[in-house]
Symmetry: C2
Subunit: 121 residues, 2 copies
DNA sequence: TAACTGTACTATGTTTCTTAATACAGTTAA
DNA sequence: TTAACTGTATTAAGAAACATAGTACAGTTA
């Protein structure tokens, strides 16, 4: 289910946060679906359970999951996600990348195409 | 000309690389225009010259600037930038952010709007 | 020559990330 | 009730990345 990219210079827990968010955005992980337990995922990835927990804590802080002691961690309802400031930040990041893409030779049409492909996932 | 974002958890040299690339993409820094010297920018930002140099070295590696001993550092020609693998990576990142934006409630039209705004800079 | 430029190097300190080893509390099924 | 799961917290240690400080050398320019 998961693979760590050793070439990625970002810390492991950050990669995990990113991975899980992508799975949620893509609806591969659905609402209230259970995430792997801290210990099992740590074993599967051969890393320390503390690192998994750090990722889960971050995901919970951002509102993407909720954890229940004794039961596990689960995907949150979309409504629980704080997307006020997040959408603003996202717009900035998107514009930054779009400027870069246009500078490097992409066309508006290329960007339109990317939007279409993103939607069909 | 520059400000460091203390809230930004990324290393300083990485913020600098990002800042300069944005200035280049926005054509605020034009071809062959000279960048601030390592020492003067370090003083302006109250950070160590080594940190500036690290950023410049990274920008040079990525092809965005070139440095001449005794003269200074300058914005490179667009043609010198290796954009083969960079465009591929950019597409992936854009799609990732687009999926996130759509998940959080943005519409296709919102994304179109962002493209327009990016182009008018 | 003096004052700039980039570049290189070593040493040091700080911060962040990761691991390791426990421990405790709540849930669940045998 | 017990055993085996869950999340969570804590402390200690090591490793890696980052930033600073100080010094030095080479090339350019007025």
């Amino acid at each position: 289910m998961f693979e760590l990219d050793l070439r990625d210079r970002r810390p492991i827990y950050e990669q995990l946060v990113d991975k899980f968010k992508q799975l949620i955005f893509s609806d591969i992980l659905k609402q209230d679906e259970q995430l792997p337990s801290v210990r099992s995922l740590a074993q599967e990835l051969s890393i320390n359970p503390n690192t998994i927990q750090k990722a889960y804590r971050e995901l919970e802080t951002q509102g993407y999951i909720y954890s229940v002691k004794g039961k596990g961690s689960f995907v949150n309802q979309l409504a629980e996600i704080d997307n006020r400031s997040e959408l603003e930040e996202l717009s900035k990041q998107l514009q930054k990348l779009m400027r870069e893409a246009l500078f490097l030779g992409m066309t508006k049409e290329d960007l339109y195409q990317l939007i279409e492909e993103s939607q069909s996932l």
